[in-house]
Symmetry: C2
Subunit: 406 residues, 2 copies
Amino acid sequence: MQTLWEKKFSNQARRMKSSVIREILKHSSAPNVISFAGGLPAPEVFPLEAFKEASQLILEEAGAVSLQYSITEGFIPLRQMIADYSEQFGIQADLANIQITTGSQQALDFLGRLFISPGDKIVVESPTYLGALQAWDSYGVEYLTVPMDEQGMRTDLLEDVLKQDPKFIYVVPNFQNPSGVTMSLERRLHLVELADRYGVPIVEDDPYGKLRYRGEPIPPVMVVDREYRQITSREYTGNVIYLSTFSKLLAPGIRVAWMIADKIVIAKVVQAKQAADLHTSTYNQMVAYEVARDGFLDEYNKVIRETYAERLDVMLAALEEYFPPGVSWTRPEGGMFLWVVLPEGLDATELLPKAVEQRVAFVPGGPFHPDGSGPNTMRLNFSNASPENIRIGIERLGKLLRDGLG
Amino acid sequence: MQTLWEKKFSNQARRMKSSVIREILKHSSAPNVISFAGGLPAPEVFPLEAFKEASQLILEEAGAVSLQYSITEGFIPLRQMIADYSEQFGIQADLANIQITTGSQQALDFLGRLFISPGDKIVVESPTYLGALQAWDSYGVEYLTVPMDEQGMRTDLLEDVLKQDPKFIYVVPNFQNPSGVTMSLERRLHLVELADRYGVPIVEDDPYGKLRYRGEPIPPVMVVDREYRQITSREYTGNVIYLSTFSKLLAPGIRVAWMIADKIVIAKVVQAKQAADLHTSTYNQMVAYEVARDGFLDEYNKVIRETYAERLDVMLAALEEYFPPGVSWTRPEGGMFLWVVLPEGLDATELLPKAVEQRVAFVPGGPFHPDGSGPNTMRLNFSNASPENIRIGIERLGKLLRDGLG
């Protein structure tokens, strides 16, 4: 008989959906379309030479070890380097606090696996990162949303949702994807206090923290939590699970990221990872270590920051010039995205096909809101297109908006 | 307050356990221990030069594309090559039937995600692959076991368990891990017929199919199914989900494997993979393609087969020489493992610490039996240790067994 696959699928499989963004990207990848839709780093500045040297050196010197199975926790010198690197912004961690993951998407999936049983609640910012929603949807989660303003999550509205006993609070405090907004120090402290009072862990997703183009760095929530708890050991025993990645610091195609957390959490993640993919590619971990070591990460960071800062400035100037009155946008101090709010009543999803016709693409903001709000919002990426194309693309989009509003 | 992590964990997390094998490997990795415990390929013959050339070429010619995000389904030329390669043993598949995974372990995890809701049943051989059990345990599965003999799964006992409406049947038909046994053609046909009659899909895990050292190849279950169904299109629309990997054909440290299945299954796997890790490393997929292309896979396969065939022969000869009467073992025609049965009443788990004291390690067979049977069995890997060390290790183990039985 013909296999009735749909009838065989699990409850979890039935809850899976295709990523809206990925479906949109398919349409926006036509050759003449200027795309602000993806979240791609600028390929022009990828450190190809450094990767060439490192990949040769690893195959020469580590040899067969780099192509063999390896431990689930991750390559020890790489985890040591991540520990040292994280100290730059005040994070202290033992090796037992650090787990290598196959991209941060895997870390998000593991958080779903570890904490979410069907019907469980978690707290997210509104809007929030779409990839996180996609990771957690299939676990049968219920989202409790807290709105944002220009200071980040409205922590004055957090206490109410914490009373509903959520499993964790998810925040992207630096240059948030999608909004570009950074959470103020005051809000971080308030978040840490409330989370502690209600016994709810915090997940701090920080892929963009080092991509700051202006203004002063704010301590990670993990550091605020460490101080709040007066943790004096190097070992981290606090309430925050911290995620970061080489995807934005080196290159996303190698899929190497990390999680820092209490070792009870890491021990459970190790079990999840043994079942999920045994370990992250030995070769990629060793190559990433070889590329990143001896200060290269900081050196290369200057290149990225210069490149993206220029693109952000060009986009902000073009928005001023071409976008009609009644449309507003955020002015991020770093990261890769800014956020546009159209007048009430306009629907960015309906606008998208017309934009693609005019050879420019963006991501409608609706899907970033698990509560179904935000139809009149859109996310613009400024890291991937060239400065010239950013001007042209914003001009095209501005014309469309003026026509739509006129 | 101190975070009570254990209280936060999900139902799925509570079902997770550490891999018994991984825990054992920790103890057996002391410098003087000859280990037959792992499942590691021989590092001495890893194609390091080919990887060096390929990694340079990819960074030169594909450049930034190799370090960028890429599509979830996998690198198209690699999938095309896998389609062509699979035709060698009769498998026909469209690109839409092929998904790249981050190692076969990820494919096993996806099968759990796609098909297993808590309380669902699946059918496995007894003994079966431990990594599969680990992938599926956390999904709350119930195992229905079918014993094996020297022809593979006892399909005469399969019908009874199929009446319990399992989600799928899992088989490792070639040189099974752990037993080394190959399923006969007659049994494959019987399996295909019964699975069809009861509408139960088959998962065919085939990491070792190309590691045949003697005897004639037997068509994959997927091919038997295609013929049984008289599928004439190139597209595969049958009842089998087929898994294979570069881990044993090139190197495991790059974590590149594949799944071939009906495109309804692949479409669901794409959704799972978007949530799990977005895509397998672009760089590794391109490097694997570059290494494997133009017949290298077949050329290198000769090297592996020569190396492993010698090690298998040395181990079989040493077993004859050193193991006492009353102990029996399988004589595989390929793969990486053979299986030892000790006299009833002996417990291989109790033997292990004594073996490690004598500087030799193996994996006790008990954990490979989800029904708790097989305490008097053990798995021996013959691909990783050198021929000299295989002789010495088997001599040590033989002495221990003679002492234990004497």
